[in-house]
């Protein structure tokens, strides 16, 4: 091994080329293939004749797809705002020189190590009206207590929001806390010398300076929203009815359970387009800054 290692020239090019070939084939090649499939009438068996945008027309007249998209928007907005607000609040509090900081941090962060499947199951058990929180409250004497969102088609989506905020708030906290710890101590001294109230110091001085940190949190959370699959499977399976269906689940169901390759591919491509649109501003500013 040693002599073989020595005989190579000092060239990273080969490694870069191999790696890039893998990325190009499995990532970008796959996307092109999926796009091609979305233009065909493939069902169980791939059909290689291009028929145009038929599948996209079918997709956007499909009730379940439209509901999925709407659900994703509602879920996404609430989840991102909720996680950001909660995570930032926890970070600010954890940064106020509190006792047992590491204990609190450990508690706030452990959900990240738990899979979304287990997250979904736990919250399903906890929010199940006949055995969970509602039952406990009624058992201890609060007979009128009602929390049955999990089984109501107009509310079930909010239980997904709660469970996913539980899973991700620690992520935002850690990232924002790292940003807060990176702030120059002299800035805090200046804030005290100027007599700026604490809440204004955060809103007008500290957070505006941390915009890139918060932007990267939003990007991470957005990609979670678009990919969201496991949590739904474990918690609601898309129900009651189709009230918690989302695009990721739609695509997987149509690939594997309903074997409608063309429609599933069209849905996947729409998911991709959506991700790129959402991420474009971030990438634009990131890469312009760098060059």
């Amino acid at each position: 091994m040693s002599t073989w290692l020595n005989r190579q020239a000092f060239r990273p090019d080969v490694t870069v080329a191999v790696f890039f070939a893998v990325v190009a084939l499995f990532f970008y090649g796959s996307i092109l293939w999926t796009f091609y499939m979305s233009l065909t009438r493939s069902t169980l068996i791939p059909n290689y004749q291009i028929v145009g945008l038929d599948q996209y027309v079918k997709l956007f007249t499909n009730q379940r797809w439209l509901v999925s998209c709407l659900n994703m928007v509602v879920f996404g907005v609430l989840y991102i705002l909720g996680t950001l607000a909660f995570g930032i609040l926890l970070a600010v509090l954890a940064d106020r020189n509190i006792k047992a900081e590491s204990l609190f941090r450990t508690i706030f962060l452990y959900p990240l190590a738990v899979s979304l499947i287990i997250t979904g199951l736990s919250w399903r058990w906890l929010l199940d009206p006949t055995t969970g929180l509602q039952a406990l409250m009624r058992d201890i004497g609060w007979e009128s207590f009602t929390f049955d969102w999990l089984t109501r088609s107009d509310r079930a989506i909010y239980t997904l929001v709660i469970a996913s905020i539980w899973h991700s708030a620690g992520l935002v906290m850690v990232i924002v806390l790292a940003g807060l710890r990176g702030i120059d101590n002299d800035l805090w001294k200046a804030i005290r010398m100027e007599g700026i109230p604490l809440w204004r110091a955060y809103c007008q001085v500290i957070f505006p300076g941390m915009r890139p940190v918060i932007a990267s949190c939003v990007v991470l959370l957005m990609s979670e929203v678009i990919r969201g699959y496991d949590l739904i499977i474990a918690m609601t399976k898309g129900g009651p009815g189709i009230s918690t269906e989302m695009p990721a689940k739609f695509a997987v169901d149509f690939y594997f359970a309903r074997v409608n390759l063309g429609l599933a591919s069209a849905a996947s491509i729409m998911m991709l387009v959506l991700s790129l649109i959402m991420l474009a501003p971030y990438f634009y500013s990131e890469f312009r800054r760098r060059t």
Partner: protein
């Protein structure tokens, strides 16, 4: 036979040209310092010689062999880096032996050479430590050791002393010079520090904007700078400059005052047109006001430097620095005359900026 010949080396990064056709002949055993401000291309030139950067055009010949296309390790060179670049996870001993290990040198030879270098640089006690456990000066010695142990006849240095404090830098300077005399190898040393250049070099190449402005013995660089840039860059305080022109009578006229320049040895025929007169602070003499061949001046302030002093005078619309004795500086009058030693002055063409 020269040790290294650089022939028309050109290098650019995109639209930015770093090296404009650099030519240089370096003799065997010579200590050459490449001196210049940051961004002049000196480090790029060193990297091109080492083979760490590829040049766009030109040829590098080392000991009679064209090495332009070769990998750095195939060129028979050693190099000391500015940040030392010791391998962090390896002990000092392994840092020294790593290159020989790769080259497949027999174990006994490796041990012998490491021992020789460790003794030469007095780093025997450090051999089993990791770089993280060494002081800056010790790391520096190891970095030099790593270059020496390869027994290359040519050694490259990229600002090796710039991370040391002033005292250690002065000591290491002397040691490096002695090392050069002991080993007799060719050394190419890049720096922006003119003291290092003056004290160590057999010859100094002053670089500016990707060109070699002058390649000569350090004393002649100081006394007879080939260009306005070299004159301004070398020497502290900087050379005093007077902009003016040559009149028909062969005198130099500045601010309507003619100055007699008899005694100045022109490179060619006595020129005409716009010119710049340059004078070092020690080539100006303070005289009584009104003395013949002097110009009137007014003392602004003096700086005591310990061994001697500097006087700053307003004269011909410019501020001049003049080297003075400490006693003279203390008793200096306000109104004086300044007389220029034309034999030691420099004159430059204002257009080409070359020496006249």
């Amino acid at each position: 036979m020269s040790s290294i010949s650089l022939r028309k080396i050109k290098k650019s990064f995109g639209a930015l040209t770093i090296l404009h056709a650099v030519d240089m002949e370096i003799d065997k055993g010579e200590f050459v310092v490449i001196l210049g401000p940051s961004g002049c291309g000196k480090s790029t030139l060193l990297n091109v010689i080492a083979g760490l950067d590829e040049c766009d055009e030109g040829q590098i010949v080392i000991e009679g062999k064209d090495v332009s296309g070769l990998e750095p390790s195939g060129r028979g060179l050693a190099m000391v880096f500015q940040s030392y670049a010791l391998f962090p996870a390896m002990t000092v001993r392994r840092n020294l032996s790593f290159g020989m290990e790769i080259a497949g040198t027999p174990k006994a030879t490796v041990t012998e050479k490491v021992a020789w270098v460790a003794k030469l640089l007095q780093i025997e006690a450090l051999l089993d430590r990791k770089p993280g456990q060494l002081s800056g000066g010790q790391r520096q010695r190891v970095a030099i050791g790593r270059a020496l142990v390869r027994s290359s006849s040519i050694c490259l240095f990229d600002e090796p002393l710039s991370n040391l404090d002033a005292k250690l830098r002065a000591e290491t300077r002397v040691e490096l010079k002695q090392l050069h005399e002991t080993l007799g190898s060719t050394m190419i040393y890049v720096t922006h520090d003119q003291i290092e250049a003056m004290t160590m070099a057999d010859r100094v190449a002053v670089m500016h904007k990707g060109k070699v402005e002058q390649f000569a013995h350090p004393q002649s660089i100081y006394e007879k700078p080939a260009s306005l840039f070299v004159a301004g860059f070398v020497g502290s305080p900087a050379m005093n400059f007077l902009e003016g022109r040559m009149d028909d009578a062969g005198r130099f006229v500045t601010a309507d005052v003619p100055i007699d320049i008899d005694g100045y040895a022109f490179e060619g025929a006595r020129p005409s047109g716009e010119a710049v007169l340059g004078l070092r602070c020690e080539d100006i003499v303070v005289v009584e006001p009104g003395t013949p061949r002097s110009v009137p001046a007014k003392l602004a302030f003096t700086e005591l430097l310990g061994a001697d002093a500097l006087g700053w005078f307003d004269c011909l619309g410019k501020r001049f620095s003049v080297r003075l004795g400490v006693e003279a500086a203390r008793s200096m009058h306000k109104e004086v005359g300044l007389r220029f030693d034309m034999a030691k002055a420099s004159m430059f063409c204002a257009v080409s900026e070359r020496r006249l």
